[in-house]
């Protein structure tokens, strides 16, 4: 049963590839290899509304030179998103117990795809500066023993972050998934001291195009660590949600 297939596969052994072919492929921008970087497989079956590969990224100018929503074939993109997250606030052991932590964040920045700026039609790497502002739940410190406890707390925690995001796009498809690694600094209130200090910030995120994604991040300050995971949405999607939420709270008298 397998013999015809074997015969066919043996007969289709690839011929030796000379250097000229490799050079040509690289010049055309196809010199990115790997299991995730393949283009769409050849197929005559597709979604009726699926954008054709030759269509320009939506919400872009200059034929993808700059996109307001990140896309697979964007050379430069705007980052503008909001997210919510939850996690744990872990102070130093003599400062009090670990407590739940939640925050909402506004994030902005820009990315470029250096390989595509050099002329390749697609490249997996993206890089750019990013900044964010968060409002999180407050801090709680407990010092002393059970008979002589010294309690202190804050209502909320404000964090400002700056960093550099490196992106690895995993596919050439529309709304392609990509991994984002962000390293930077965070300035925030430290526990209940009332003092703002600089610490470090790291984040690993997975996005789908520029529309949103999931993230895991941490702010590491002196004796005050916060680890958060959450969901992020582009400003176009998050804006209406924020507007409706504020409208409901304000008109309802909750603010």
């Amino acid at each position: 049963m397998f013999s015809p297939l074997l015969a066919a596969s043996l007969a289709m052994e690839p011929a030796e590839v000379d250097d000229a072919e490799l050079t040509t492929a690289d010049e055309e921008g196809a010199g990115v290899y790997g299991p995730f970087f393949e283009g769409e497989p050849a197929s005559d079956i597709e979604f009726v509304t699926q954008p054709r590969p030759d269509q320009l990224p939506r919400l872009s100018v200059g034929k993808g030179a700059f996109c307001f929503v990140e896309g697979t074939y964007c050379k430069a993109s705007l980052l503008l998103s909001a997210d919510i997250g939850f996690g744990m606030r872990a102070p130093a052991s003599d400062e009090g117990p670990d407590v739940p932590y939640a925050q909402f964040t506004f994030r902005w920045g820009a990315t470029i795809r250096p390989g595509m700026l050099r002329g390749k039609p697609w490249h997996a790497w993206g890089v750019g500066p990013v900044a964010s502002w968060s409002r999180g739940t407050g801090s709680l410190t407990v010092k002393g023993d059970a008979l002589d406890q010294e309690l202190d707390s804050t209502d909320d925690t404000t964090v400002l972050r700056i960093g550099l995001v490196n992106q690895l796009w995993l596919s050439k498809r529309n709304h392609a998934p990509h991994l984002d690694f962000t390293l930077g600094a965070a300035r925030s209130d430290v526990l209940t001291s009332g003092v703002k200090l600089w610490g470090s910030h790291a984040e690993l995120a997975m996005g789908f195009g520029g529309w949103g994604g999931l993230f895991l991040s941490g702010d590491f300050l002196d004796r005050d660590t916060r680890v958060v995971m959450g969901f992020r949405g582009h400003g176009i999607a998050a804006g209406p949600i924020i507007a409706m939420a504020i409208a409901g709270l304000a008109a309802g008298g909750a603010l």
Binding site: M1, F2, S3, P4, L6, A7, A8, L10, A11, M12, A15, A42, D44, I45, E46, F47, V48, T49, Q50, R58, I84, G85, F86, V99, P100, A102, F104, R135, T137, G138, L140, V142, Q149, L151, D155, N174, H175, F208, W211, G212, G213, L214, M229, G230, F231, G233, A237, A238, P240, I241, M244, A245, A247, G248, L249, A251, G252, G253, A254, L255
Partner: protein, 352 residues
Amino acid sequence: MISAALLVALTTAQPAVDAPASEPVIQRPAAKRDAEPPAPADAPAELSEAEPSGPAAAEGPAPAEAAEPTPEPTPEPAPQPEVAVAPASPASQPTDPTETERFTVASGDGGPPYYTDADSQALRERHDIKTQAPDRTDQARWNCLIADPTCGRSFEVNALAAYTLRGRQGDVSGTGENPRWSSGRAQYDFWMNLPVITDIRGRSKFTRMTMGPKGGLIFSDSGSTWGNVGMAFRYWLGRGRWAPTIEFSSALSFKLGERERVDRGLEQPGWKMTRGPVGFTADVGFGLGGFGAIVLGGQYDSPLAREDIPEPFRTSAGGAFFLGFRGNILWGGPAAAAVATHIATQRGVEAP
């Protein structure tokens, strides 16, 4: 070792074929063989020592086929110059459709497809694969910002307005009460729909089921605000714009804030950030298209009552059941209903 085994397998399973190495042969059912056109003069002719080569082999069926009934052959839509002539089977052997007819791998640059268009067309006809226009040619609304079976990956913002029965258990103040009260729920979520099951009709693909991450905000009375991060599923029971759907979503929910009250001894009334452990919320919905769904769900708020948490900062377990309507905000109605529910709940309901 493996190479030797492959060689033995090829030698024993294959008839004696002396085809060119660059054009291996693939077998096809015998029923197709009668309708095949004669091979052109430039086609590979050396196939088998047991059969005559060239046009003589294609002029009529082999003796074995003349003796046994075979299905009605399907005519080939176009000549296949590169199709090789099948070898004749001995009269004493039964004809196995899978071992008597051959396709020829198309020559070219070496990339897919490996067969000619005529081969693909013959395959479609044999298995009744339709090639006509799809069932739907109309476009989805708002560039797929309203979910549609014709969309691949899509994104949407949903708003939920619901009646809610809330409760709280284990009052940490020691009163021993377990209050329950009627309230409302407004929820705004961003869904990312990734197709995981698809249907194919003609040359069009339709989404059967989507699954993807979602997140958003939940509001109830007394300024209660939660975030939620989870997954959303939608199963389409049809391919139309208004096809019925079954939706299921589940998420981890966490307290973001609430309105502080003067009667509880707090200094200033107003909405403030409030910590709380991670809880859980889930719902099931029955809807029409991506426009809206009737939703039934529940939520559980975990207590923060560890022994190392000082008494003033502990919170009790809580929960809610809700029944309402969830729809895409681009439609307008769901957004207005959710905001109205939010406002009415803030003004008309106070948590006991």
